[in-house]
Symmetry: C2
Subunit: 284 residues, 2 copies
């Protein structure tokens, strides 16, 4: 910290901060600090940032320093987001309306449409949630972990719930729904996976039952027939099984700004048709 001023004979330090890409600063508090000394440092720092024309101020506060939350809030900060071990607070110095980006808004779920060579679909009954105890057979589903790729997450969920090894085929469709988890929205990606093993080993903690069920039996199930979304899933999945449907396949791309990789999910069948038709016209 830089010492800039004194209060009641005590030295007041500026908070250490790094600049962000948008004319703001980020303060990451780590070590315990006397609350009164912190309050004076925060006031002085805000004064100093204002002189410098700083816009947004972020404070990342570990949960161990929870006693400082009320001091930061009293200075006009609000909550931006929280993770198990820290709280991120934010403040906007200019008199203009803030342009602080919103927090993460979506949870991401996956569902696996897994059909074996005998035209049987992999289905489970869950121990908790809205469908528990209804005898409702559903495809394996789950929530993507922080930092996990969709195609990895869906294969992991199938393995965890049923013990079946799979290979990723395609994202067949996705659903966006709102207010699904407190105020948050939900993106659910329906994926087709190819099974690489056959013997089911059920996850006892979350799964009540798991089995391979003939697709025709599943389609005729009265509970499925009454469940509009289950019928949509079946409709798309069967179209894919019958090879008359194309979803999105992940292509690895490199970021222009960093050595980060990400996956771009595209209708690769349609894109490849381009090159094949181009090849045809070349050869003709």
């Amino acid at each position: 910290m830089t010492s800039l001023a004194a209060y009641n004979g005590e030295q007041i330090d500026l908070l250490a901060a790094v600049n962000d890409d948008h004319g703001g600063v980020i303060v990451e508090l780590k070590a315990p600090i006397d609350p009164r000394a912190f309050e004076m440092s925060l006031k002085l720092s805000i004064w100093s940032w204002r002189q410098q024309g700083i816009k947004g101020v972020w404070i990342k506060l570990p949960i161990e320093l929870a006693s400082l939350v009320q001091i930061i809030v009293k200075e006009g900060f609000w909550y931006h987001h929280a993770e198990p071990n820290y709280l991120m607070l934010v403040y906007w110095i200019p008199a203009t309306e803030h342009t602080i980006p919103s927090n993460a808004t979506h949870r991401v779920g996956v569902g696996a449409f897994v059909v074996n060579d005998r035209k049987e679909i992999l289905v489970v009954q869950e121990k908790s949630g809205k469908l528990r105890g209804l005898g409702f057979w559903k495809i394996p589903t789950g929530v993507i972990n922080q930092g996990e790729d969709l195609f990895t997450g869906v294969m992991r969920e199938v393995k965890e719930e049923t013990g079946i090894d799979t290979e990723f085929v395609e994202v067949l469709a996705f659903r966006q729904s709102h207010q699904s988890f407190f105020e948050k929205s939900d993106l659910f990606f329906l994926c087709m996976l190819r099974p690489l093993s056959f013997v089911i080993q059920m996850q006892e903690s979350e799964i009540e039952a798991a089995k391979w069920m003939p697709i025709e039996e599943y389609t005729a199930d009265p509970l499925v027939q009454k469940h509009e979304f289950a019928k949509y899933i079946l409709n798309v999945g069967i179209a894919k099984v019958e090879k008359r449907y194309s979803g999105f396949y992940p292509v690895c791309i490199q970021s222009a700004f960093a050595d980060e990789q990400s996956y771009f999910y595209v209708n690769s069948r349609d894109l490849e048709q381009k090159s094949s038709s181009a090849n045809e016209s070349n050869s003709s």
Copy 2:
């Protein structure tokens, strides 16, 4: 609150709580409360919930009651998520590993591929962010608001940034990337929109420049040529313009459990081909 015990001659109340769908309880604090009285109530309530076999305990704490954060954390709660005006804390009573679902993990962005009848693409230069000042022309992009549908959000962003009215055509592809915003991941949906107006009205606050640029000129731009993701976007967008690509189109579905609506994005061309081929075989 229910009064159950007394401490030092004072009455201690249980915290008011409602049950959730997973064997837990949710406490929503609203009115100011004396910190010491709150601490006693919280301890007594946890004791009582433990007797009842309650698993997860959620406390929703408005920002006005920030002074209570440290008391709740001291009882073993951790942060689950935060929104500007409240903090959600959570605690797991059983000795087993918790099954508390993770917080929202993804921000959702949209990009608009908008091409007019003269084969010109709508492009902008941004005032902030990593691409500022580089003279890089890009498609209009933006972040989805909480509770906003993808197809609504992408049309809103194009209108805000360029003044152009549009009609939604399809989601052409999407990208999942990680660590894009603090620890959060990002889902970016590339959408095709059909322009319904022509005259550009630029958003002065965020946009440096906006124009219609001939697709061939954009494709030849050296900055675009060096930017792998921009080339992928162009590749898919041009395939769509040339009518040899099918993305996902939103179909409205009704939830089985509530009167909620959501949108299911599917390759509707392939699904419709089914019915047309079925019709053909019927008529033949």
